[in-house]
């Protein structure tokens, strides 16, 4: 009896028990049965291909590349850009989560949101000024910053406008990319901002900073000093190489776990101030309007959230059988402690496996075996973090804060799997 037959047997004989309705299996089911199944394939229909000799095995390959490209067969895995008609620089592009695995977003696929395009900054001419309520205003260039003690951390960045379309009355047609793509995760390397501020000498009244970008919108945000001294860095490297231009080359502020807009790109100036400066991007935008007409301001931290990336919107199932549900969970508060998955629209839940590394303020990959019987299913994920916070349902989130909040939508989202094998966004 082959391994495949054996696991099929175990599953069908009920020795691998469902942990929740509609086919969700114990998170270690794959380990128990010894079967390892790639996401989106089914072992029940696996057949052995006869050996054959392919053209690439009998012709000489290409020489090494100076800067590596991916396979030409992967060329449709791209960001989708939203570009306004005239003001093309005020656009955004989204990460194709439905095609990615693991927790690191390739730099070329990191989401972007710009307020006046991507500047072409000459790193030799770029300067960072620190001034305001400090004993000694200081100027730094890239070369000198690179000599400071560097820290490296794997952390997510999410635009607070991400998943905004879940506010809509009817579910929008969309994918993990179009609905949740303003989210990415990288290894960020940079200088703790606290070191530079200590060098300048913060005066006692200095309780906030203003961070200003060098792009042509000169985008500005205010950040409380406690966050700055806690874990803010001036990021110089992304996934081992210098930042991409679209992500702030040659230097950006990076505020772990906080809404993306506050991590000001192309950073050129930090002013230590007594209070917030009340810039356009922290008043007119990035404030959360509530039904009573007041708006939350400085709602920096991103809430506990998770999404299923496979199977996900606009994908189709190959047929009934064993699948691996795969997704991402994260929280601005620290670590993800637990993720649960439902295949019946949230009535019953089973615990998913959190894969290592499960780092604080990083995307955490979760996986869960699922035996799809070919019938309709409503799949959801629900994340918990180490502070005990739980990802809310869409209904409870919207009833609490109305439909004009516009930012920080971290509700549970549903993918509907139809008996015609299509996966689409749904409300459950």
């Amino acid at each position: 009896m082959s391994k495949t037959d054996k696991s099929k047997d175990l599953i069908e004989s009920g020795q691998v028990e469902e942990v929740a309705a509609n086919g969700l299996l114990h998170r270690r089911a794959f380990l128990k049965t010894g079967a390892i199944v790639a996401s989106g394939t089914t072992i029940l229909s696996a057949t052995a291909a006869p050996p054959e000799v392919d053209i690439w095995s009998t012709t000489a390959g290409r020489p090494p590349e100076a800067y590596g490209n991916r396979s030409e067969f992967e060329s449709d895995v791209i960001r989708d850009a939203f570009t306004p008609t005239i003001s093309v620089g005020a656009g955004a592009s989204r990460t194709p989560h439905g095609s990615l695995e693991g927790i690191i977003t390739p730099s070329a696929l990191h989401f972007e949101r710009h307020h006046n395009g991507i500047p072409n900054i000459d790193p030799d001419q770029h300067r960072l000024l620190i001034h305001g309520l400090v004993d000694q205003p200081l100027v730094f260039d890239l070369e000198s910053l690179s000599r400071y003690p560097l820290v490296s951390r794997i952390q997510f960045l999410e635009c607070s406008g991400n998943s905004r379309s879940l506010d809509a009355d009817q579910p929008v047609a969309g994918s993990a990319q179009t609905i949740h793509g303003l989210l990415s995760c990288s290894e960020w390397t940079g200088v703790p901002l606290s070191i530079l501020l200590d060098e300048a000498g913060i005066q006692t009244e200095g309780k906030w900073i203003l961070a200003e970008g060098a792009d042509s919108s000169l985008m500005t945000r205010s950040v409380p000093m406690s966050k700055v001294m806690d874990d803010a860095i001036i990021a110089l490297y992304q996934n081992g190489e210098r930042l991409r231009p679209g992500n702030g080359y040659p230097m950006r502020l990076f505020l772990p776990g906080w809404e993306g807009n506050a991590s000001v790109k192309w950073l050129r100036r930090i002013k230590v101030t007594e209070g917030p400066t009340m810039t356009r991007d922290e008043t007119s935008k990035y404030t959360d309007l509530q039904p009573d007409g007041t708006a939350q301001i400085f709602s920096f931290q991103m809430g506990v959230k998770s999404i299923i990336t496979s199977p996900s919107g606009e994908q189709s199932m190959r047929g009934p059988g064993l699948y691996q549900i795969s997704g991402l969970a994260w929280t601005g508060a620290g670590r993800i402690s637990r993720v649960e998955v439902s295949a019946d629209g949230g009535r019953t839940w089973g615990e998913a496996e959190l894969t290592e590394p499960a780092l604080p303020k990083a995307l955490t990959r979760f996986r869960m075996p699922w035996r799809w019987n070919g019938g309709p299913a409503l799949i959801q994920s629900r994340a918990y973090d180490e502070t005990g916070a739980v990802q809310p349902t869409r209904t409870s989130l919207l009833s609490e804060r109305g439909k004009q909040y516009n930012y920080h939508n971290h509700a549970i989202q549903t993918w509907q799997v139809s008996s015609t094998r299509e996966v689409s966004n749904a409300y459950a």
Binding site: P84, S87, A295, I297
Partner: protein, 171 residues
Amino acid sequence: MHMRKLLALLLLMCPFAFAQEGPGLGVPASPEEVAGWDISIGPDGENLPLGSGTPAQGASVYATQCLVCHGPNGEGGLEPKLVGGHGTIDTPNAVKTVGSYWPYAATVFDYIRRSMPFQLPGSLTDNEVYALTAYLLELNGIIDEDTVLNAYSLRAVEMPNRDGFVWAWQE
């Protein structure tokens, strides 16, 4: 041994004794250098420059520099509406504009000067920015058409939604 004990003691007494320190490579900036960079305006109008402008002057700058994107009278076009929406913020159809939503008039000056016009930011004089700010505030019924906006009069402008924000951030 002695040394190690001393170190342990030091660590206990002073948890920051080994906080990271840099190589000290920051180059001191003179007040003149700082002044050239420091364009941000505080909510109370701190750091507003010299200069002035009226709504009428602003209307003519607006016609050539802004109208193509923001529409006649700031009513919106390809780009956001800058005027109107008063009384809508607490309704299910809130229309957020400079007039209905922005809490501080100084931010209007700061934002236009740093970011607009979109295709050529930084090209306006301070007088033109005062004039455009005056024009948008007048279109929104916040100042009257005779107001000359300058560092003093702009500071005195109270925006209708000044108290519309609650702080989510707590220390």
